[in-house]
Amino acid sequence: MVTVSEVYVHLNSMSESQRKKYSQEEKDSIFDGEFMPHMDSMYNFAFRLTFDEDDAKDLVQDTYLKAYRFINSFEQGTNAKAWLFRILKNSFINEYRKKSKQPAKVDYQEVETFYNSDDVDYQGTTDLRVDSVKDMLGDEISNALNSLAVDFRTVIILCDLEGFTYEEMAKILDIPIGTVRSRLHRARNLLKEKLRSYAQYMGYKTDSEEEEEN
């Protein structure tokens, strides 16, 4: 099986003229057979990035139009979903992020330092309990996820919702694999903090509370 990373390496080493030129029938077959089935996944990703139905729809539409335009860059039989997600993510960064002009919700200096290093400060376990997580409702988990900054939210969506590997995520996001790991770890720690707050609000005991009582 060919992985998406192998495709990108292959594409990067190919000049424009070396890329395969598909016939009109082949283009239609790739588009309908390999691209169209991912429409719902793409919309889910787009909606979780923009939180707006119309923007999400525009983003998906824009992605499909670009995919058709650059279809010769796609190698048939490789990971079409990852290829489409990469286009969607780039469109979001280039157009929708500028349009929304949202203020940054994270300390970027701290994040940059973090991103540029593969070393992750793995701490001990938090006092969030497995049982508390299992008892949480979908809305509570969704809210916690949605409250994360977009870069952190994105890695969790790609990994946990869409099931991409670290290697595929690195290609989709254009970042080194070590950065994927560290960003994902950081994102999960932030998510755990949110979920711990929910757990306390819901009245579930955390380990630290139990220790205090004893």
Binding site: D28, A56, Y166
Partner: protein, 132 residues
Amino acid sequence: MPSIWAIKPTPKKKRKINTSKICIIKIIRPAGQRKQSEMDKELDKSGQRKLECADVSRCFQLLERIIDGNNIPDSKEIIQEKLAKCQPCFEHFHLEKAIKEAIHTKCTKFCMSEDMKSDIRKKIQEIKLDAR
């Protein structure tokens, strides 16, 4: 007429467990009575696990890579050994796994309405016709 010995006794029907009821009981249990999972209790009693991990960074990173489905050789053996011997690794593994599963199974997947899909298909069709 068949011999009486040829008639096999009817096997007792297995009692079906209504899992929906179990879930309801779990949700409404008051916070003060919440217990650790049975697995937790069992393994805590044995007292065999280290309470501190000698290399938290390396171990947690490895466990997360395994949970995320990356291809790690001997991953089953690694998990068995780590979870049996190290309490922080045990707790981290189960919490990370529970969060991942909760995100995957409980978060709403937003789907496109049929109107939206047909709009996009129309646009694509226009582009296809222009390209010909």
